[in-house]
């Protein structure tokens, strides 16, 4: 029981990170129907910017952890959002209206480009990060096993839940969210009603990138090490989460992220940690075969 509880806490933390990345995939898919394969790299860049941010904070002598975290969080979101905007502007928008595979190929190219750029700019060796938040809270002990939840885990889950709630509100209630949903359902009609479709798509990328930056920062703090290649695996897993939840569905992405976190952690905890990625990707295959619309996705309706 104690072991199970500990695994559950770890799984929820990981699931939160995947969920944040998955939102970026699902929103972009929802609005322009393409898988943004460079999104994992955006996450990786968010992690690197956070790492640099914490080093600058330390250099400036900001010793209070909450202040440093908040500062770095906002900076990382802002800078990564600029990356997201630029990627869309340079690699995808010129190909809009081209054949369907074109932006997908462009996305893969962008992903390789960003990996290599970070590898050259930051070096290929994994970068250790000093841990900013230490300590935790022992929930209970049983069978000689302490069930602990670290402050960092609490921060990750709280920030994620807050962001997801804010984000769902943004989509459901604000003019911007209405505009995004309108573009998602009928882009041409939205444009006729005066909605600036290009700008709405740009903002979607910006928001997805900002959330990926948060995920990157959490990942960096949680694992304490980043390298230029972390975006690949985390990106594909978050993509799996988006597909599992139903691609295009926002609650689906959150649920999918949580489930992927659970599957990965429990597989590693109860079977073998070598095969945890296999377990995750087996889910991707199974979902694509047996339930391609995902858990919360709507079946594709052919647009007239």
């Amino acid at each position: 029981m104690a072991y199970f509880s500990q695994q559950l806490i770890n799984a929820i933390t990981l699931g939160a990170i995947y969920g944040l990345i998955a939102i970026g995939y699902t929103m972009v898919y929802g609005i322009i129907g393409m898988i943004n394969f460079a999104h994992g790299e955006v996450f990786m860049i968010g992690a690197f910017i956070s790492l640099i941010g914490f080093m600058i904070c330390a250099g400036l002598g900001i010793s209070s952890a909450p202040v440093a975290i908040l500062l770095v969080l906002l900076t990382a979101m802002a800078f990564t959002a600029v990356y997201g905007w630029t990627i869309e502007r340079t690699a995808y928008r010129p190909l809009r209206g081209s054949f369907k595979l074109a932006p997908l190929i462009s996305a893969i190219g962008m992903s390789i480009l960003l990996q290599n750029y970070v590898q050259l700019a930051q070096g290929a060796r994994p970068k250790p990060a000093a841990s900013v938040v230490q300590g935790g809270y022992t929930l209970f002990s049983a069978d000689g096993f302490d069930v602990r939840v670290t402050w960092l885990q609490i921060i990750i889950v709280v920030v994620t839940v807050a962001l997801m709630a804010g984000f769902s509100w943004l989509i459901a209630k604000t003019p911007l969210g209405r505009q995004q949903r309108a573009c998602e359902q009928d882009m041409k009609m939205a444009s006729l009603l005066g909605v600036d479709v290009d700008r709405t798509i740009s903002l979607t990328f910006v928001m997805g990138a900002a959330l990926a930056a948060v995920a990157g920062m959490m990942f960096m703090m949680y694992y304490g090490v980043v390298d230029f290649f972390i975006g690949f695996l985390a990106g594909i897993k978050a993509f799996t989460a988006a597909v599992l939840g139903g691609i295009g569905s926002l609650p689906g992405a959150m649920l999918g992220g949580l489930l992927i976190g659970l599957i990965e952690v429990f597989w590693a905890g109860y079977f073998t940690s070598e095969y945890k990625d296999v377990a995750v990707f087996a889910i991707l295959v199974l979902v694509l075969i047996f339930r391609p619309t995902g858990l919360l996705g709507k079946p594709e309706i052919e647009k007239v």
Binding site: P175, A182, L193, G194
Partner: protein, 272 residues
Amino acid sequence: MTLQESGTLIEVEHLSMRFGGLVAVDDVSFAARPREITAIIGPNGAGKTTVFNCITGFYKPTAGRLTLRGEQEFLLERMLGHEIGQKAKVARTFQNIRLFPGMTVLENLLVAQHNKLMRASGMSIFGLLGLKRFRDAERAAIDKARGWLERIRLVVDADRPAGELPYGAQRRLEIARAMCTDPRLLCLDEPAAGLNPRESAELNELLVSIRDRDGVGVLLIEHDMSVVMRISDHVVVLDYGRKIADGPPDAVRNDPAVIRAYLGTAVDGPDA
């Protein structure tokens, strides 16, 4: 000549549209005035919808000029799709219903007013902070939407997804949504298609009120001659991409070229 009259809202001059070898619209000129309902009629494939698609920026015309007159003049054929709605204030509906089916009835009307809202909300950032300016703009938008819901009798359905409404209600909602963009010219592509006689009569009423109460110029493609003859002020007849008649409904009804185009059947009873 209509074209020289000062009270012109939209002027279509020598409009041609070719798709490869097919000439869909061939040198069509006509004008529509504000506060009038101008009907475009003609047999299937006459090029009516193509004219609409040129006006609303879906197609770039092969040749010709489309001028929207008023305080400011706009050359529609040179504008981008969303600018035609935003700046030139041309709104349209389609033959098939194109509401946002997953959004509520109210949201459909709010999307049409989003320009004002986006400006007031500073890209939603001020909206997040709940600034007064944004709240006022949001309230004004909702008031306007409610006014339209009352006019089309859908107030009780405001929070239902638009896709769940009955067909006739969806048609009315589409027109209301187009009107929420504050258009100067409203282009309706077969709004009466598939409506029962009662709904069709309601639609007539709505269109007449849009003309008289809101003072908007309406361009109407319609097969239902009872609608056309009853409410339009001016009728343009197309056949095989050419204009064959242009004038008040009574004159057009008795035009021999028009009767011929409709295969000799009486104009007031073609198979629509």
